[in-house]
């Protein structure tokens, strides 16, 4: 009986293959683990194939990889229309409507997903140098993904979205307040329904994963979070360095560092490309926040 479990996707896999057929990670390499415990997610090898249902997806390229699907007649995938690179004329493309259209539009999320059905080939790619990350999901497994990192999912994966509940507001008074969402206003959640499913993400830069024990926590740049198990909790954390610099000069200014604290148990993944949040203005109000003053 095969007991091999892939180190990266955590699914039962086949060690006799050069790459994991579930997530594409190379099987024949040693873990690259930093001293602090971050495991570097190895890029999917050029031309590696991932199997799902009666179909498969092949990853081509290494700078901005392309996910090329060979879809069987009974299989379908869905994706945002702006990641479509090319398609066979016989592949069927159609709209998949989403609930919560107004809120999605206000949050800058894709309003309409495109459904691609077999038989035929469909190829997708994102618009940043980075890696394609495959997240195979067992039946019933659910995963949280940062918004705008989603590339596509197989048809049996349910797509939901939820507020991150991580925000703060700045401004002189209630008339001029600016609400900031350093980790995005909403996050995507994906759940495999009747059988195992596959979600592909695009991660700008390199990707690192780590397993947090029960109660273990760490601080990360909010926009660097790529995905996490839904068992991992997240909230805002502010640090105030001892030296305030010129921040004492004006009540609107504040010298602080904005983090997100992740608390285990569960797996978390970060990407090495991120946008630091604005951190010069005084914070008037926020979601649940812990504070540390040096």
């Amino acid at each position: 009986m095969n007991t091999y479990v892939c180190r990266y996707c955590r699914q039962p896999s086949d060690p006799s293959q050069p790459t994991c057929p579930m997530c594409g990670a190379p099987v024949d390499i040693r873990d690259a683990v930093s001293d602090s415990g971050w495991i570097e997610q190895p890029p999917i090898r050029d031309m590696a194939r991932l199997q799902f249902g009666q179909s498969h997806v092949q990853i081509a390229g290494t700078t901005v990889p392309v996910a090329e699907f060979a879809l069987a007649p009974q299989d379908f995938i869905y994706f945002s229309h702006h990641v479509l690179l090319w398609a066979d004329p016989q592949a069927q493309l159609g709209n998949m409507s989403m609930r919560g259209g107004w809120k999605r539009m206000m949050a800058g999320m894709p309003l309409i997903m495109v459904e691609g059905r077999g038989p035929g080939h469909i190829a997708l790619s994102d618009n940043h140098a980075g890696e394609v990350i495959a997240l195979p999901l067992q039946q019933g497994q659910r995963m949280w993904v940062r918004e705008h990192r989603f590339l596509c999912a197989t048809g049996n994966v349910r797509y939901d979205w939820e507020a991150t509940n991580i925000w703060y507001d700045t401004g002189e008074d209630s008339q001029h307040q600016d609400i900031h969402y350093p980790m995005g206003q909403y996050g995507d959640t994906f759940t495999a329904q009747d059988r195992h499913g596959l979600v592909l993400l695009h991660s700008p830069g390199n990707t690192f994963i780590r397993d947090l024990r029960q109660g273990e926590s760490l601080l990360i740049q909010p926009s660097a979070l790529l995905y996490r198990d839904v068992s991992v909790r997240a909230h805002l954390h502010l640090e105030f360095p001892r030296n305030m610099g010129f921040a004492f000069w004006h009540a609107r200014w504040s010298y602080h560092k904005i983090w997100v604290r992740l608390t285990g148990p569960g797996r978390v993944a970060v990407q090495s490309v991120y946008q630091p949040p604005e951190d010069s203005e005084a914070i008037r109000n926020s979601s649940y926040t812990t504070v540390y003053r040096w």
Binding site: M47, A60, E68, H82, G101, I112, N127
Partner: protein, 247 residues
């Protein structure tokens, strides 16, 4: 004339027939005419040309990275200046003549596509994708009428056209992200996101086709793809500006 592709690696071809452009090794050097080209770097590669006295290359002026002081620059006479400007194409194409060294790069991660052109070839390249061409290659542009209203609000989409008459030449493109090439058989069709199109043989027909789906708020945007019909080569890039749709 060679293209610098490594000879000791296997072709990387996907199941559907797309072949990856050969990744040029850092410091690869190859010859064209009496000059040489060396490719440096792998993330945003630089093409460094050592021009012999009888050779020259032309390029869009903003891709020039550095040059020897002694290398003279001039401008190439191009037809249809006003049309080119209105179409967003470079109004002036610059020429560098040997002897001396001159280097070029574009400003995004990607790869160089080296295309040696034999006499009697015609190649169409998306605008702002060509890095340099040797002076033996004729340069013009073509308008893709079918995509005009879809992509540029009616002003039309232009492509650079490179033609070799009786002499061979060297054409180097910069593709954003990864570059893939496929050869279409006569009558074979493929649908490509217009922003992902990089180059094609001029024999390949390109038309806009509307997809049976709508995007944007209230579904007011129509989605179009470029239908390419063989015979000939088609090259695409995996990182591109998405030409969303029309209202």
């Amino acid at each position: 004339m060679t293209c610098g592709a490594p000879l000791d690696v296997r072709d990387k071809v996907s199941d559907s027939g797309w072949r990856e452009a050969p990744r040029l090794r850092d410091m690869t050097e190859f010859r064209f005419s009496a000059s040489t080209c060396q490719v440096e770097g792998e993330l945003v590669p630089v093409a460094e040309i050592s021009l012999s006295p009888q050779d020259g290359v032309y390029f869009e002026h903003h891709v020039l990275l550095w040059k020897d002081e002694s290398v003279p620059l001039s401008s190439l006479k191009t037809a249809g200046g006003m049309k080119r400007t209105l179409g967003g194409m470079p109004h002036i194409v610059t020429v560098a003549n040997g002897p001396g060294r001159v280097a070029f790069s574009r400003d995004s991660p990607g790869e160089l596509v080296v295309l040696p052109l034999h006499p009697g070839m015609e190649l169409d390249v998306r605008e702002h994708a060509f890095l340099l061409a040797s002076h033996s290659i004729q340069y013009s542009f073509v308008r893709i009428k079918g995509l005009a209203n879809v992509l540029h609000g009616g002003s039309g989409m232009f492509m650079d056209r490179f033609i070799t008459a009786q002499y061979p030449g060297l054409l180097i493109l910069h593709g954003n992200g990864n570059v893939l090439e496929r050869t279409l058989k006569p009558g074979e069709k493929i649908l490509v996101e217009p922003g992902g199109f990089l180059y094609k043989d001029s024999a390949v027909q390109m038309n806009a086709v509307q997809m049976p789906l709508r995007t944007g708020m209230l579904g007011q945007h129509r989605m179009f793809l470029a239908e390419m019909t063989g015979p000939g080569r088609v090259g695409i890039q995996s990182m591109y500006v998405h030409h969303a749709a029309s209202e």
